[in-house]
Subunit: 254 residues, 4 copies
Amino acid sequence: MDFVSVKKKGKMPKLNNPILIEGLPGIGNVGKLAVEHLIDTIDAKKFAEIYSKDFPPQVFINPDGTVELVKNEFYYWKAEKENQRDLVLLTGDYQGLSSRGQYELVEKILNVCEELDVKELYTLGGYGLGHDISKPKVLCATTHKTLVKEMKKHGAVFKKNEPGGGIVGASGLLLGLGKLRKLKGICFMGETPGYLVDPKSAKAVLKILMSITNIKVDLSALEDKAKEIEQIAQQLKEMESGSGEKSEDLKYIG
Amino acid sequence: MDFVSVKKKGKMPKLNNPILIEGLPGIGNVGKLAVEHLIDTIDAKKFAEIYSKDFPPQVFINPDGTVELVKNEFYYWKAEKENQRDLVLLTGDYQGLSSRGQYELVEKILNVCEELDVKELYTLGGYGLGHDISKPKVLCATTHKTLVKEMKKHGAVFKKNEPGGGIVGASGLLLGLGKLRKLKGICFMGETPGYLVDPKSAKAVLKILMSITNIKVDLSALEDKAKEIEQIAQQLKEMESGSGEKSEDLKYIG
Amino acid sequence: MDFVSVKKKGKMPKLNNPILIEGLPGIGNVGKLAVEHLIDTIDAKKFAEIYSKDFPPQVFINPDGTVELVKNEFYYWKAEKENQRDLVLLTGDYQGLSSRGQYELVEKILNVCEELDVKELYTLGGYGLGHDISKPKVLCATTHKTLVKEMKKHGAVFKKNEPGGGIVGASGLLLGLGKLRKLKGICFMGETPGYLVDPKSAKAVLKILMSITNIKVDLSALEDKAKEIEQIAQQLKEMESGSGEKSEDLKYIG
Amino acid sequence: MDFVSVKKKGKMPKLNNPILIEGLPGIGNVGKLAVEHLIDTIDAKKFAEIYSKDFPPQVFINPDGTVELVKNEFYYWKAEKENQRDLVLLTGDYQGLSSRGQYELVEKILNVCEELDVKELYTLGGYGLGHDISKPKVLCATTHKTLVKEMKKHGAVFKKNEPGGGIVGASGLLLGLGKLRKLKGICFMGETPGYLVDPKSAKAVLKILMSITNIKVDLSALEDKAKEIEQIAQQLKEMESGSGEKSEDLKYIG
């Protein structure tokens, strides 16, 4: 096994002018939530897995008691209408742990993309605000200037010098290394408090993606998850403010 | 020397349909205690050592003043009865320090297994509870669904979604990477508080292994060690509760 | 892509007896500020980029919304007068993150230098004092004893056993590894408090470099930046001493 | 340049049945002090240097203002009397920073040893006690049982199970990896408080080495350094006990 290895399940799919949509774990797990929801809803098919010696040395346990080596997974979906394009979807358990691991993972992903004749990359992630947000906007960055205009039409937001720290991880690196290979790339970053997994932000990201891909996706499952998370967030706040009141009480007493 | 290298002592043993039993250092040292006890009791023979540049740069000192480079060790044992199978046993001083080191160590172990025609892997470890446990159960996870039923018969426990964090280290990776090579694998995790080395948990793991392998192992030495450890644990608790009383006394005085 | 790779833009420039001037991020960002100012002012041309798997897995975002993979950049400038020499300039976003990454980055830089027939290396950095300094001196260290005398003539300062910790990073390594390749090297370290980016120290370093290269550079932009930073430093001090007074007040009250 | 590279100065020396004496930085810098003193006193000649990408990316500055890449250094010395043996001496600025770096450094050292037909390795280090010691003993560990008896004759001490943590770093690894190459090895560990560099402990180690090698070394310079260090240690203690008294005084007052 190489440092990073791609394991294909049978033949590679034959796709027509496909685009990649990537969503790996990250801030608020926005990208991963979005791509996993998309895979489930459109019933995409798995065609390859990626293993890496830079992932943690770990297996997860399935509900039936069997184990699963940590990995990334490639899926594909074939367009059903004239105005749609074939999709390659990537999600997974981890990103690389080290810089080198991140670069080599992304290079293997790009190799698969080139093999499938993917020329456009959409990478999804979260943009951590550190505070609550009622209507998360979706920030965007692209490899080419012409794409900026195009993405604005679909509702993506460009803020000068944001994110100030750039984009760290696979979502950024796919664009950076993809650009060197003459690929087009677009990164969507859903605004998120960043404390908890954030299905609301994932939904905002998917909405733009639906507009671009002309694929209709039922978002109700994400909405349900978002309500759950909001309740948890509310409970955490009450616990905090509860203890806050106590400490104020104590001030009066003490 | 490669990053991980196997050093064989003479010819490799010729074994008949052998199974691997692995126990490297980990939580409560459960796996290592179990396999070392097994090796000593059945008088298994060493046939190879593994060195790794990802082990600490360290030698241990033998009682006679000579040094020993840190390593993993392979032993074998030939079945003595009809209903037994030949064993390959693996234990050692360390697991790999880094992710890459873990993956490469496990790949070398699997190479040796394939050379010896091992098709079934039993990996032993601890499952840290963070609290005392009088009768440690033995949790289990396997590579194949059919093995789940089989292992339940021998008393292994499957709890849905446990361990929640999966299995980290060689015990998990042997199953994960072994599955990719079409090997069967079973991981036994003895429940343990996880604070001290835990011969009681190692004993629980060995009992199941005895049932599977039809090998009778005298467990009295492990039981003696378990009593020692329980006394130490008791003393530690008394010291804690002792100081606890003192600090309460001080409250009354101060 | 190699661990460190050089990507050339078209043909390599043909230079006449050029010198390298390096300024990568470091203490007070002195070296980077100096070389970037030089590149802008003399209008040097980019001819190559360096990417490394030991840089962070990151893209930065340009003001126009496009992304830029983190990198180092090579520029050149052709002498305009008899008493000047052609320049190769190196700056960038990061140095290598690990020891190995630093060594391999510097080796690639030296490879490019040898390809361009560079025989003299000037490396620029900061010397952190941990306290304010009104007139920063420029410390110096060289690969060869004859260069010590020469550099003193241009105003560089040699203090016995300073910096006591030697020179860490690309500025030191270029000299150390360059010396093994029979290259001459000079490191200029501008004194700096080291808390903030320090254009004043960068200016001091550039003044010596102007004397050596006979290139006149307008330093007013650096001076403006230096004033800005001094104001920020002043504000930070006032905030500190302000809160100091408050806490003293509190002592009187409490 | 390889990950670790040996750079020879001209031809390799022709030595007659030589032994290696190694002393790299470590606890109390005992080994490095001892070997450096030996090199200076017997006027050994440098014949090779080792560079490593796992050393810090750093140059040190010589008193004359020139730089020196961090490295390890090989010296040799030819026997002057019948009862002496030729020496290969190794010291340096650093050991490898990572496990892999340590293993690869030691392998390169052993390669040089084999090239010079060295069959016996003496490695020197400190044994940190964590408390003062008036007459430091010299603990010993060896690759072969026969060497234990031999070393006891020269005054080396073997304590069962000490050091309990084995020997970490080049001094241990040279024995561990050397043993795999059928080389004999002896490690001397001078007892030391371990807080400061310890010339007294280095002297104790050298005394045994003098007995073994039949080389007389003037130890007065080490003794002078030892007195200096003892004064510093004394001053540090007085400072501590001074503040200790104060805090006791405060108890009476407060």
